[in-house]
Symmetry: C2
Subunit: 473 residues, 2 copies
Amino acid sequence: MRWKPVAGYVAMLSAGVAALALVHSIGNTLQAPAPAVGAALFGPGSGSASSGAGAASLPSALPHVLLALAVIIVAARAVGALFARVQQPPVIGEMIAGILLGPSLLGRFAPGVSAFILPASIAPLLGIIAQVGVVLFMFLVGLELDTDTLRKRTQASVAVSHASITVPFVLGGLLALYLYPVLSSRDVPFFSFALFIAVSMSVTAFPVLARILSDRHLQKTPLGVIALTCAAVDDVTAWCLLALVVGVAKSTPQDAVQTLLLAVGFVGLMLGVVGPRIVVWLQRRPGSLSQDAMAIVLLGLLLSSLATEAIGIHALFGAFLFGAVIPHDSAFAHEVGDKLTDLVLVLFLPAFFAFTGMRTQIGLVSGLPHWGIVALIVLVATVGKFGGSFVAARLTGLHTRDAAALGVLMNTRGLMELVVLNVGLDLRVVSPTLFTMLVLMALVTTFMTTPLLHVLRGRESFALSGSRAQPQR
Amino acid sequence: MRWKPVAGYVAMLSAGVAALALVHSIGNTLQAPAPAVGAALFGPGSGSASSGAGAASLPSALPHVLLALAVIIVAARAVGALFARVQQPPVIGEMIAGILLGPSLLGRFAPGVSAFILPASIAPLLGIIAQVGVVLFMFLVGLELDTDTLRKRTQASVAVSHASITVPFVLGGLLALYLYPVLSSRDVPFFSFALFIAVSMSVTAFPVLARILSDRHLQKTPLGVIALTCAAVDDVTAWCLLALVVGVAKSTPQDAVQTLLLAVGFVGLMLGVVGPRIVVWLQRRPGSLSQDAMAIVLLGLLLSSLATEAIGIHALFGAFLFGAVIPHDSAFAHEVGDKLTDLVLVLFLPAFFAFTGMRTQIGLVSGLPHWGIVALIVLVATVGKFGGSFVAARLTGLHTRDAAALGVLMNTRGLMELVVLNVGLDLRVVSPTLFTMLVLMALVTTFMTTPLLHVLRGRESFALSGSRAQPQR
């Protein structure tokens, strides 16, 4: 039993990649449009603005940043509360608040207000706050990851989790065949492009899912346990695949192999050496969280992020991994979570949503053909995630209703998708137009979860606890 | 009794300002050197680099920022622990760690390492993290401010607090007469310059002082209570005076009156309306700190900072004031403090020290004349603070030893001085050279406190609790 799931997991990954290789051989014959000038919105890489008026020429950035943060917090809380009232998770409202503050709404209809609140010159500053915030957030996601759940998987959850990754992954690869000639550019290799589209279809937002389930008191039901397990597996897998995308996009094929080996070595080091050390250290340390312990946690988090960045995969992966090797049910994990969670959820994540919103330009999606592509992306994403999970769940014996509910849950992409998409935009693997389309897909698939669950399971287990209790996203 | 201390306080402030007006009339005849090209290190205003390669042109800023933060945390903890071992408050070590990472040491002897760890291009990004951090820190200082202590002052503490501000303030004004022709420039009005030097002499670091006293278990002794009360009064006064400096430096005389009136109005609003509302709100709110409450606190903090910035005094003043109007002994204040303190002390303050260190160039202080000026500044600062406090304490009947110990304690400037100095550099009221000299003065006067106390009070009450417990600075 110990090696069977591992073998199955590896087989699943291999099958997915093999399918993509097939897609690749077709894709190589495709011709993408010539690269657009100034296509990537904030330049290559994280937190840098293409605007010439960077932070360097700002007379005084601090008041602007404070104002932006104040507006961001107000917008996030307000739209979040609005969404809680219509029984949606507030985090969807917060994501939408970020979009509304960007060029899609505020910048379009009140450019003066937008230039005052979120001038282009503070984009790099807001960007670094958002990115440090997402690093902290990914650490918290890792910290909350229940590694025991991953070990105690049932046959159903193994099948569903494999299917819920492989099917959307392969469908995403096929979708890339259509999207590449239309929306990519010649300086993006097809393989990176296809891999990225495939990964972006395969994401399930573990944190949002956990929140939806606990709002409906479903987290202890068999359905809830399967959904959470599968989401955790999907999350870890999506991150591994994203690391692969980053490695491939940044490097030549030889480098990619080296990156892969280093990444595997680093994961092994973290799970095999650092994790056990942390367990030993936790047993010896005094009761309450000291500042020294906090310094060690932050340092470990930074070093792990830097290591993955140096390897050539993203800093976020290291942050997530470092969180994952700290035993999630230890008092230490709870204390660290307590200290960081509120600030991250109230201040940093809304800043990340606003940063994402500044990069999302719905104006770029224009005309029927474009909106047709958005619909196609949503369709493929939903068919892949929902369909894959539903069929696998039915085959392992779940009832149709439960299987459908599971499929709906797995289709939640939430903010994890936004994190993945920002990485893709930073790498210039996707254009701002495609980025916007995929952001819309993330919002639509996340948004549809609650109403569909409502239809499938009725009102009986429907009890949103309001915006007060919000320990996880 | 209710109006007497207020009248005394106003009389003291008026006397100080009157003395400075006299200094001003002399100073107006002085001629300062022509402005140096590129004198202010990071441009006018907060967090902007004079380097052309700002954040805008960085391919990927995030790894650099993560690396810088990791190095900063390690350096701060290491030098801090070293200082704790020689029975100095760790915070002095952390301040020095920041200086060592800057151009004074690392940049001078290992420019390659320095350019890798702290490249000039990330200065604006590090700057915004540092400044947001100091805003949070000033809020925490305000939150810990015991306003009851301010009300329950004894005759001795009233006399000492008045003297410990007025004397260094006037001496600072006189010192400005000497410094202005030597180290200022013609584009800085003498009055702004003199006011700033006077304020920088008058700062007492309440947080560091509290820490030194609690390390030595002196905080409940009569001496400790007087010292803490005076430091709190000095802190509030220094901030009011700094607000005045900022107002004057930024505006014409007519504007200065307007700024002053608005500032007084705002303080009145916060103390008279917002404070009581918060007290009422705290009585009604549920037990534990919700995310909504956290959002309200952060929002209040940001809005208060923005209001003071809009009035024309510094954002830090608003942050401090908002913290001060929250009852410091409420469960709510403790919870908010718990959530923020560790992250601020472990991550943000060291970043601020490193940012200060990047702007401190000991290389600019060259030759005997310059070091003579540094010695003079330290002398005037010490004579003003120590002398003023000592004489006042003796006159109100304290023993010589206690009066001397009180004088030594009041001479602690610590990181509050660094905050004040950074504001002055941002305003271009002081040149980078004078900034560096004043940073050295801050370090020397803070550093001498513990050994001098040791000499004056012997070892009996000497019990540093190590680097573990460090609730306050």
